[in-house]
C-alpha cells in the first residue's frame, strides 16, 4: 500500500496517471453537465415566486460551493506539502488557486445577475456576496504571494502558510459578515435559502453539483500534470518524453 503511495507521488508516474485520470473525470463531468442542464432548464418547473429566474441556481450554487471547497482543498494540500514535504501536494495547491478564483468569480457574477431580477440591483451588500468577494481577494493574495517568490520551494511553503492562515479565517470572516449585515440592513433581502426545494428542481441541482465537482477534479488533474511537467522539465524522464522517446515517460 505504501509502495503504491510512493509510486503515486513520484512525478513520472503521477504524470502518466493524471493524464488518464483527467479523461475519466472530464467525460462523465460533461455528460452530467448536459443532463443537469437539460433537467434544470427544461424539465424543472418555473418557481412560483421567481419564475424562470431561479434557474441560475444551477450554475450559481455549484460555483459557490466549489469556490469554498477548492480553498479548503488548497489549504489541505499545502499543509500536506508542508508537513510531509511532498512536492506533489504543493503542485496540487498551486493548481487549485486559479480554478478556485474562477469559480468564485463565476459565483459572484451569477449572483449579481440573479440579484437584478430578484432584488432589483446587481450588487447588494448581502453577507454571502460580501464573503464571496473577500474569498476572491484571498485567492488573489495567494496567487500574488506565489508569484512574488523566485525560489519555487519558498513560494510553495510560504503560500501554503498563507492558505492555512486563510482557512482559519474563513469561518470568522463568514460569521462576522453575517453578523455585520444583520445589523446593517433590514432582513428583507437575505432570504436566499430556497424554502424546501421540490424534487423535480432538486435532482438537476444535485446533478450539477456532482458534474461541477468532477469537472473541477478533471481540470485539476490536467493543471497538476502541467505543473509537474514544468517543475520536472530538467529531469531525465521529462526530457525523454518530450523528445518522444517514450510516450508517457513510464508505463503503469
Amino acid at each position: 500500500m505504501w509502495n503504491w503511495f510512493f509510486k503515486l507521488a513520484s512525478p513520472p508516474h503521477f504524470y502518466a496517471l493524471a493524464g488518464k485520470l483527467s479523461y475519466w473525470l472530464l467525460v462523465p463531468a460533461i455528460l452530467l453537465l448536459a443532463i443537469g442542464t437539460w433537467g434544470g432548464l427544461i424539465l424543472a418547473p418555473p418557481d412560483y415566486q421567481q419564475g424562470d429566474a431561479f434557474r441560475i441556481i444551477y450554475v450559481h450554487v455549484p460555483s459557490a460551493y466549489l469556490s469554498m471547497l477548492i480553498y479548503v482543498t488548497m489549504a489541505v494540500a499545502g499543509a500536506i506539502g508542508l508537513i510531509w514535504r511532498i512536492k506533489l501536494a504543493h503542485a496540487v495547491a498551486a493548481s487549485c488557486a486559479p480554478i478556485g478564483a474562477s469559480f468564485t468569480f463565476a459565483a459572484l457574477v451569477t449572483g449579481a445577475v440573479w440579484g437584478k431580477p430578484m432584488w432589483g440591483t446587481y450588487w447588494e451588500w448581502d453577507p454571502r456576496l460580501t464573503a464571496e468577494l473577500i474569498l476572491l481577494f484571498l485567492y488573489f493574495g495567494y496567487m500574488g504571494l506565489r508569484g512574488a517568490f523566485e525560489n519555487l520551494t519558498q513560494a510553495d511553503r510560504a503560500s501554503a502558510v498563507l492558505a492555512i492562515a486563510g482557512v482559519v479565517n474563513v469561518p470568522i470572516i463568514h460569521f462576522s459578515v453575517i453578523w455585520w449585515a444583520s445589523l446593517h440592513q433590514g432582513p428583507t433581502l437575505s432570504k436566499l435559502e430556497a424554502p424546501s426545494i421540490s424534487g423535480d428542481m432538486l435532482w438537476p441541482l444535485l446533478t450539477m453539483i456532482l458534474a461541477f465537482t468532477l469537472f473541477f477534479l478533471g481540470i485539476l488533474a490536467m493543471r497538476v500534470r502541467a505543473e509537474v511537467l514544468e517543475r520536472e522539465v530538467q529531469s531525465r524522464w521529462a526530457q525523454d518524453m518530450l523528445r518522444g522517446a517514450s510516450p508517457v515517460g513510464v508505463d503503469l
Binding site: Y142, G144, Q154, A158, V161, G166, V168, I173, W179, L183
Partner: protein, 242 residues
C-alpha cells in the same frame, strides 16, 4: 564554555538555558522598542498617515457635523487599518537583513514567543499613537463623548489584533524586495472582521445601543490572534530565513 552543541547528549541538550523565557522575552521587547524609537521617523509616519487619512474625508465629502458624526466610526477605523498596513513592512525586514532573526532562530525557546515580543513592541510604537490620537480626531468629527470612549476602547482591543494578523504577512514577505503592496493585499482580507466589529461597536454606541457584543467578539479575536498568529508567523519566518 557552557554553550550546548548539537553533538551533546540528549540530557545535556535539554539542560536549563542560561536565560529564562521571560527574561529573553523582555529583552527582545525592550530592544525592539529602543530600535523603534531611535528610528522615530518610521514610527511617526504611521501616526501621521492616520491623521492625514482622517483629515481627507471632511475635505472630500462635507464638513457638515451630522454627516461627519455618521462617518466617524468607519473613517477612523479605516484610517487605523491603513496606518497598520503602511507600517507592517518594518516589522521583520531590517532584522532579517542584519541577521537578528537568525540569532533569534537559535534561541532554545519557541520562536513564536520572540515574535510575539517583537509584535508587541511594534504595537506600542505604531498602534498606541493611533489609539491615543483617535479620541482627538473623533471630537473633530463631532462624535459624542460616549461613542468616543467606545471607539477608543475598540481600537485598543482591535489594533493589536490587526498587527498580529499582519505579522503573518510581514513574516511571509520579509525576504521579498518591494513587497509593500503585496503585503497589504494578502493581510487586508484577514483583517476585515476586526474592522467590521470595531466600526460597528462605535456605530452602536452612537445609536445609544448596547455595545458589549462586538467588544466581546473583538476581545475574543485578540485572544485568538495572540495564541495563534505568532506560531504561524514563526513558521513563516523559518521559510523566509531559508
Amino acid at each position: 564554555m557552557a554553550v550546548p552543541t548539537h553533538a551533546a547528549a540528549p540530557g545535556q541538550a535539554t539542560a536549563a538555558p542560561a536565560l529564562g523565557l521571560i527574561t529573553l522575552f523582555r529583552a527582545v521587547f525592550i530592544r525592539d522598542l529602543r530600535v523603534g524609537l531611535r528610528r522615530w521617523t518610521d514610527a511617526s509616519n504611521a501616526a501621521l498617515f492616520f491623521i492625514l487619512v482622517v483629515t481627507l474625508f471632511p475635505l472630500a465629502l462635507s464638513p457638515k457635523a451630522e454627516m461627519l458624526r455618521m462617518l466617524a466610526p468607519g473613517v477612523i477605523w479605516i484610517a487605523a487599518l491603513l496606518a497598520t498596513l503602511l507600517s507592517l513592512h518594518l516589522l521583520f525586514r531590517a532584522d532579517l537583513e542584519d541577521g537578528t532573526l537568525e540569532q533569534l532562530l537559535t534561541v532554545p525557546y519557541p520562536l513564536g514567543w520572540m515574535l510575539l515580543a517583537k509584535t508587541l513592541a511594534h504595537w506600542v510604537i505604531t498602534g498606541v499613537p493611533v489609539v491615543v490620537m483617535a479620541p482627538v480626531l473623533a471630537i473633530t468629527y463631532h462624535l459624542p463623548a460616549s461613542a468616543v470612549g467606545v471607539l477608543t476602547f475598540s481600537l485598543l482591543l482591535g489594533t493589536p489584533t490587526l498587527i498580529l494578523l499582519g505579522s503573518i504577512g510581514a513574516a511571509l514577505t520579509a525576504g521579498l524586495r518591494g513587497a509593500g503592496v503585496l503585503l497589504a493585499f494578502i493581510v487586508a482580507p484577514l483583517m476585515l472582521p476586526v474592522l467590521m466589529l470595531g466600526a460597528r461597536a462605535t456605530d452602536l454606541a452612537l445609536a445609544g445601543e448596547n455595545v458589549t457584543g462586538p467588544l466581546y467578539l473583538l476581545a475574543a479575536l485578540l485572544v485568538l490572534a495572540i495564541s495563534l498568529a505568532p506560531v504561524v508567523a514563526a513558521g513563516a519566518i523559518r521559510i523566509s530565513a531559508d
